[in-house]
């Protein structure tokens, strides 16, 4: 009888006890090719923040992250395409320059503040910027992983590829630069004077190098 009682009641009691004692751990992040970097260039956990840059382990590129703090990285600011020698200066909208803004202004300011510990910020090549396109984006969101790249606008983002012939209504302006639109993910050539958005990139950054290791 005692043996039977033991056989009958001990296993369920043990299972119950184990179930009560064993509580599931909270969820944890999984491996991913994107990594958050803080403004000093230190790597951060996937669920930490705020962060200032993102390193893409697939390409080794460090990307600028947009904000809504009305500072120089504010996501709503737009820029005309301008390089030392050509393009159109000061034809975009931002608050941080005396005059209006162009791509060179953002590069100069980002390098000066050593954003994420690096001072070789530049415009991305179109092939580079295209690596950020994210077809699984949520409904109505721009085609990018907004969990890593918040404050991205559904619009055109400049690349460094200039001196491209313009077509159609812009033909008379002769040359423009390539932009990637983050609505459909397409590559477009638009006049330098257009106000488009910008996401800067840096290669050979210390932050990204450390993260990839």
């Amino acid at each position: 009888m005692w043996r039977r009682a033991l056989l009958l009641f001990a296993p369920p009691a043990c299972v119950l006890l184990v179930a009560i004692l064993h509580q599931q751990p909270p969820p944890t992040p999984v491996e991913y090719h994107l990594g958050k970097i803080d403004r000093n260039g230190e790597a951060m956990g996937a669920w930490s923040g705020p962060w200032a840059c993102v390193c893409d382990a697939r390409t080794g590129l460090l990307w600028e992250v947009k904000t809504d703090d009305e500072g120089i990285h504010h996501g709503d600011w737009s820029y005309s395409w301008y390089r030392e020698d050509f393009g159109v200066p000061n034809n975009g909208d931002c608050y941080f320059e005396e005059e209006r803004c162009d791509t060179r202004d953002l590069i100069r300011r980002s390098n000066r503040e050593r954003l994420c510990g690096t001072d070789n910020w530049r415009l991305p090549a179109s092939a580079e910027l295209q690596t950020l396109l994210y077809p699984q984006a949520k409904e109505g969101a721009p085609l990018i992983d907004t969990d890593y790249f918040p404050k991205t606008r559904r619009g055109d983002y400049w690349t460094r590829d200039g001196e491209k012939p313009l077509q159609g209504v812009y033909r008379h302006l002769k040359h423009g630069a390539v932009a990637i639109d983050f609505i459909a993910g397409e590559q477009v050539t638009i006049p330098y004077r257009n106000a488009a958005f910008v996401r800067l990139v840096a290669d050979a950054s210390k932050a990204c190098h450390q993260l990839r290791k």
Partner: protein, 531 residues
Amino acid sequence: MVTFWDSAVTKYSKSNLWILFHTAAVLALLVNLSSGLRIATLRRPAIAQIAELLPDGRVHQLHFLGACALTAIACAYLLFRLYTLIRGGFRSLDWKNFDYHRCVIWGGCAVLAVSLASGWLLLSDTAALGSPRELHFAAALGMLLYLFFHGGSYLLQYGRRALLLILRPTRQPGGRLLASAAVATGVVLGGWHFIAGSAQHSLPVLRVSVSTPIHIDGAADETEWTSAQPLTLSTEGGANFANGNTPVTLRALHNTREIYFLISWRDPTESLTHLPLRKTENGWQVQQDGFHRFDETRYYEDKFAVLLSDACDFGAAGTAHLGRKPLDNKPANWHGHGYHYSDSDRIHDLWHWKAVRTNDMYLADDNFIGPPDIRRPGRRRYTAGYRKDGKESGSYVMNWQWYRPDTVIPKRLPRLAEQLARYESAGGDSDWVIPWFDFAPYAAENDDFPEGTLMPSVIYSSNRFEGDRADVRARARWRDGRWTLELARPLDTGSAKDVAIHTGTCLWVSAFDRAQVAHTRHNRPIRLELE
């Protein structure tokens, strides 16, 4: 080898029919107990401790199917008893053998009767009789005890022989037995099909002329509303409501283009203090109690949700999947309760009115429940099928750069300290919202607010949602312990993320009393009948 028991069994054995029904009853009871306890984990932390032992996923369907089987068996048993009683007179009751086991069985039958009666009452969503939930839960615990005192004691007394007695047929199952098994299964499945298909509340949608203006202002002063037939049902299981329960009354109108709902529910407190920030010694802190697990139940705004679907299955059109990780290959949820998603490609429409974040915009969030989303590594919370419709521009943002349970850095601070004067204490009916341009970007040198300062955390960055997310107009007012909400939407928006409304569309409602996810629910869908 003929043992003592084998010979005893031949004298004392159970008929095949008995074995069949007893086994079916045991299985149905186990299904109901395990699925019922899983449902109980939603709001009973003690039961949540053993959650790993319970089934997950669409347990409501399982529970109600088990309920049909158990009810059919109980009825059959009752009929059989009555029959023998009538045929054999009271002698057939056999008082002489009224031992311990008989006592337990009679007790068990009584508890089962309570369980079945309270279960069906729960399923009816009637507001009039008060909630039988506690009774149903107590009866479930009673049935658990019964399993021990009945099954356990037989096993203790007779060991393996007891199992042989109740499981091993003594004769070859005959044709009659198979026929009765088939009939019984047919009755249960037929009954289930009937109940699942017809157990719906019906809400007539009164037709009004296109020229009749219905103002979405929460005042509900149009005379048309008094002509619309109301439907009141009990919704249960929500945090903060008294006994988790609030009755909801619905009325509906349409003018062949738009549909209008007037919905009112009891909520003694108007909660507008949404996750406020408090200045502490170490910096600003989000006031919360559960928000870190995505299950805030204290510092949250009131909300209301309407689910619309072409499917009318139990468990919110079959989208309610309970458990920490109902999908093996998808992330778990933090609170362990479960999440909503669609098992097929079907889209279910979800309107989500929020007392702070959408009421001032005269809108409800237009969301949907679809198939489970992909894993998004940058997100701490995985919401499975519950997703937002396309949103073209910002609406509200929270006033922190990044949420952390200890301290946060606000996004923006008031330009003048006086702007915070009206938020001296949590609660009250102040608007806990700040317009973007009334505040300035955060700068540490401006952050000299005294300890204890309270600051709202919802910032409107633009006045309205645009695009798909702005299809549902909504406005509510709170007065004398009740919210009154008016809603309007085109019958057919043409969007693939919305459900077009017609006769036969099923609807569910849920009220949230300062709770992020712990909403009330009802069991039977509401079927719209357009005039």
